[in-house]
């Protein structure tokens, strides 16, 4: 390898290692499942932190039906059971150079081996993304996926 190419490569490797060290060894994944309906005006007080985001869905009622937090190592898969026999697999893959948490997320439903959703995304540290739209008990599920790591 030429010296001119070696230097940037080494620099990038060191930078990546530094970011991994800064980010810590563990990631906390936060999965909150909300049942949204139009049947009442109820708003679960445990969801007040994300009320502005939930209001964008334009349902009249929001109830937290499941909440789970789990600390996992980078690259390790975390499985979450969701209402209605659904299944969520989350793998935190890396802490990116722009201080984001990269995730691989798969939502599975039913007995089909093919995931319903298979996505790669990155969220800001302490950030979130919503996966919504599946029907459940006369309402619609809104799954909030959040991730936190030590900076």
């Amino acid at each position: 390898m030429k010296r001119s190419r070696l230097v940037p490569f080494c620099f990038a490797s060191v930078l990546l290692g530094t970011f991994q060290a800064i980010a810590g060894e563990m990631v906390e994944l936060r999965i909150e499942t909300v049942l949204a309906t139009d049947s009442s005006k109820e708003f679960d007080d445990r969801l007040r932190d994300i009320r502005p985001q939930l209001n964008e869905f334009r349902f009249s009622s929001y109830r937290l039906v499941q909440e789970e937090r789990r600390r996992v190592n980078w690259g390790k898969q975390a499985d979450f059971s969701l209402p209605g026999g659904r299944f969520l697999q989350v793998v935190p893959t890396e802490y990116t150079t722009d201080a984001r948490i990269a995730l691989k997320v798969m939502l599975m439903e039913g007995t089909t081996p093919t995931p319903l959703v298979d996505t790669r995304l990155s969220i800001r540290n302490h950030g979130m993304v919503f996966v919504a739209g599946r029907r459940h008990q006369g309402g619609t599920l809104i799954i909030r996926i959040g991730a936190v790591t030590d900076e």
Partner: protein, 180 residues
């Protein structure tokens, strides 16, 4: 005069075999016990017989002995083939059996072009460093989340709410208009 509401609409469809099986069975059962519909059906059958008889009589009276000669004559009177058709026929006659087809000619021409370009414009020995890989395609992005790839077996909508600063992956096959 006796009438039956079914004789007006359904019996004609029944006669033409235009009814699906359950209704057809029901109408057949009704016609068997309804004098008015039986008469209506008989009238339809009689009309059909008369029409078929008239058509066959006309056919017997027609002379088809010169029919195909007439068709051939009309074809000959059509305009002569265009110059493209003549050219194609001429090429087909002259083309030897070993002559390669169009794809071979195209491939050969392309190879000659590439060779010419390489000979007259060789790549510089001190070529610059290769370009870095392009940034991954981002399907949706905001301050909170960036979706880099997404596959789904369902109908998926992606949207960013600027107001709530939220990225949403909406997975559903029952789009209701107002959501998302």
């Amino acid at each position: 005069m006796n009438t039956c509401p079914r004789s007006e609409r359904v019996v004609a469809l029944f006669h033409d075999d235009e009814l699906d099986s359950p209704l057809r069975r029901e109408v057949a059962s009704h016609v068997a016990g309804c004098v008015v519909c039986t008469r209506t059906l008989a009238a339809f059958e009689r009309v059909q017989e008369l029409v078929a008889q008239a058509v066959s009589e006309q056919l017997e009276e027609s002379d088809f002995s010169n029919f195909w000669e007439g068709v051939a004559s009309r074809i000959d009177q059509q305009a002569p083939p265009s110059w493209r058709l003549w050219l194609q026929l001429w090429r087909e006659r002259l083309r030897p059996a070993w002559m390669p087809g169009t794809p071979v000619w195209v491939a050969t021409t392309a190879a000659l072009l590439v060779t010419t370009v390489l000979v007259f414009h060789p790549p510089a020995k001190d070529s610059p460093l290769p370009l870095p890989d392009p940034a991954p395609t981002v399907l949706a992005a905001n301050d909170q989340a960036q979706i880099e790839s997404l596959s789904s077996t369902a109908t998926v909508f992606l949207w960013n709410e600027q107001e709530g600063n939220a990225t949403v992956i909406w997975v559903g096959d029952d789009y209701e208009g107002d959501r998302p």
